[in-house]
Symmetry: C2
Subunit: 439 residues, 2 copies
């Protein structure tokens, strides 16, 4: 290379393409993103997003509390803070976790910029490129995205209606280790899983913990929906039963509001230290004003009562969705019956492809997230994640009705021409990476 003759940048689409890190070349814009932009039009019922419904928060009173916060504590709340997060909100978080039988010390809590950043911090602390992360199949699209962005080798472990299947987990770990792979942790969402709505039973949790002990395996428990149980009280968290082998991710995004970007990681002490150092190099400190704001909310408001209000609201929406599915889904469709959280997992009649069907659904003014987004390996083409969190019960009923019509029409095309089931095989290598799960 002659230094006085720089490479001709103008002839390439991205002049920096040879300069990026290896991880960057794997990043892809989701092909469904453009479609979601269309799906945000008011005439479309979106059953796609994971946005909580925060319209009923007492905004007048919250605004007054924030005004007082700025006047009384603004000098601290608007200043740099601790890389670990502020002590008083970590104390509050210990109280929140106690609602799920978790005993913890505030010193073992690290605040993150949303629990998404908790995921990223944990991954950065543990994973070199190529290290194996075990992930429930299907699982949260944003976790898959973070593991991919950190160049992890994602190995799926299937779940059934009771959660992760211990025998399959054992099999995967033994096989991977025998071939010399480094298995860093299992990522699991025990409560009202995203995307399936499935909850690990207590027996399954105990089996999982016993297996983790036997295999010397770390568990990364992600629990954003645990307090949004719509029927019985929640089952004790994995972390409530084991404080040595479980790293726990929590969030205020679903029990208060996501815009503050305050999540947390609860980790054994040695890991907590590494997380803090990683947080410091990533952000110096997580959002300070947000931490004061949420602490003020927890201090001055009946947050437990607000969660009960949220539960009632989401229960009505879930019921509207299950009712509409019963009314409008054609034979051959099946779906989960979540006992909490935000999501129903729909399986289409054989031969249909949810991603291929999406443009036609959006044309029919209903949007959803295709199942392939929740797998790292291209599976899920017959599945759909339906969210009942954001639209009203009336919108949900209308949206599911539209979806039923689209599926029926799709079935007719399939039965006549048999196109879709083949196209899946042809297209699976082109399946794009998942998009973030915020809309």
């Amino acid at each position: 290379m002659t230094l006085s003759q720089p490479p001709r940048r103008d002839t390439r689409l991205d002049p920096y393409v040879e300069t990026y890190a290896a991880r960057t070349n794997d990043l892809q814009v989701s092909a469904v993103r453009a479609l979601f932009a269309v799906a945000n039009r008011p005439e479309v019922v979106s059953l796609a997003g994971g946005m909580p419904n925060i319209a009923d928060l007492p905004r007048q009173a919250i605004g007054e509390a924030f005004a007082k916060l700025v006047v009384d504590q603004g000098i601290q709340a608007m200043q740099y803070g601790s890389g670990q997060g502020e002590p008083f909100i970590r104390e509050k978080i210990v109280e929140v976790m106690a609602e799920e039988q978790i005993k913890a010390n505030a010193d073992d809590v690290v605040i993150s910029c949303g629990s998404q950043q908790g995921l990223d911090l944990v991954t950065r602390v543990f994973c070199d490129p190529g290290d194996v992360v075990l992930v429930e199949a299907p699982s949260y699209v944003g976790a898959i995205g973070t593991f991919k962005a950190n160049q992890c080798n994602i190995v799926h472990v299937a779940i059934d209606e009771h959660g992760i299947v211990p025998e399959l987990l054992r099999h995967a770990v033994v096989l991977l280790r025998s071939s010399g792979k480094k298995v860093k942790f299992l990522y699991t969402i025990p409560n009202f899983q995203n995307p399936t709505g499935i909850t690990q039973t207590l027996a399954r949790r105990q089996a999982l913990l016993a297996l983790a002990h036997e295999l010397d395996l770390l568990l990364l428990e992600d629990n954003p929906y645990g307090l949004l149980a719509l029927e019985a009280e929640p089952i004790p968290a994995l972390r409530a039963q084991d404080d040595e082998r479980v790293i726990y991710l929590g969030s205020f995004s679903k029990t208060f509001a996501p815009g503050f970007r305050v999540g947390w990681v609860l980790a054994p002490h040695a890991i907590r230290e590494k997380l803090v150092l990683t947080q410091e190099s990533a952000t110096l400190c997580p959002p300070v004003f947000s931490q004061y704001a949420i602490a003020a909310y927890l201090d001055q408001f009946d947050w437990r009562g607000q969660i009960r209000t949220f539960r009632d609201m989401y229960r009505a929406r879930r019921d509207a969705m299950l009712q509409a599915l019963t009314e409008h889904m054609p034979p051959g469709s099946t779906w989960t019956h979540p006992k909490g959280g935000f999501f129903v997992w729909l399986t289409l009649p054989e031969g249909l492809d949810s991603q291929a069907m999406l443009p036609r659904a959006v044309t029919a003014r209903v949007a959803y997230t295709p199942g392939t987004a929740f797998y790292a390996d291209g599976l899920g083409s017959r599945n759909i994640r339906l969210s009942f969190c954001f639209p009203t019960p009336e919108q949900i009923a209308e949206g599911v009705k539209r979806l039923g019509d689209v599926i029926v029409a799709e079935q007719e095309i399939h039965n006549t021409f048999g196109i879709e089931s083949d196209s899946f095989v042809n297209r699976r290598n082109l399946t794009p990476g998942p998009a973030p799960d915020t809309n």
Copy 2:
């Protein structure tokens, strides 16, 4: 490994030590951190931290603006947002950058969780482990920390009183490339540099940009202090003179308040796309409420007037520091005369070691940051960064007086026993990694 016999964890200090990523094993707690905890005692004058003085912000009015924000726009401000950041604040940021002659499009701005996260995002987009990042010597401790945490190979390029020395930069790039190293970018703080307070002259900037063009080298321009010029108007930013080869980092931490954690990256379009994808996997979206809050501040307050007020306040503090240094430093000491920003860079008389001296300074009730924190290679033992941003002029005068006494006493010990200059050599391999620069 027998699966039924997990390794004996109890006998090791950190049971997870074999599980961490390679990058994690390089993370170190700074040895000066414990000392800084002591330095935060009220009787100690801390000249160590980089905290802005935000005590004079109009908190009553800001609180009222936030209350109105929650009532009027809370449903959006407390919800998930865009991975790139909200459009309206990106428009506002374009206005802020125009104050430094930067012409930009809001579409090329990416919001980060403080500009520290901007640094991390850029590093993640470009750097594989072992890639070279060129860094001014000395430079911002938090940047060195991020580059280290991302396993970059930090190569220093010396600065003189006019900023980075182009001949040394050329030499470094040619040498590194001829030995097959990948040089990803040069990290530079042209205005009132942290830690030296030195400002790149216009001629030096032009030479740097010409050299970057010739060498096909990306520049990462970090400009948190640009609007805090204490004498003449600021010199045009590098980005104001080149929009193809400069990635620009901006921040509200010094011109408004750091606790919201809102910084930004302005980058050429192709790089901007990669930054957004990386941001999405890192946090889903940067703090949304913070963006609304800062946009409300920029909209409803005389932020330019506030910056003029900050300038007057910091000018008085800088003048107090320079005056006190003239009065109290013994012969053989030299220091910079910053025209803006927060910092003075002090060089101790020959034979003294600023890190070894720190415990004695804290005992004498004055704290500073030893120069070694600002080098990746153990240099800087004769240097001290003094901050004039946070303490009052009276505290600064008293702190510098105490420091002068400590240095004189240290010189006497050195002249009598000649200990310190040797101990540097013995200790340099033990020099800890830098601590974050928030206190």
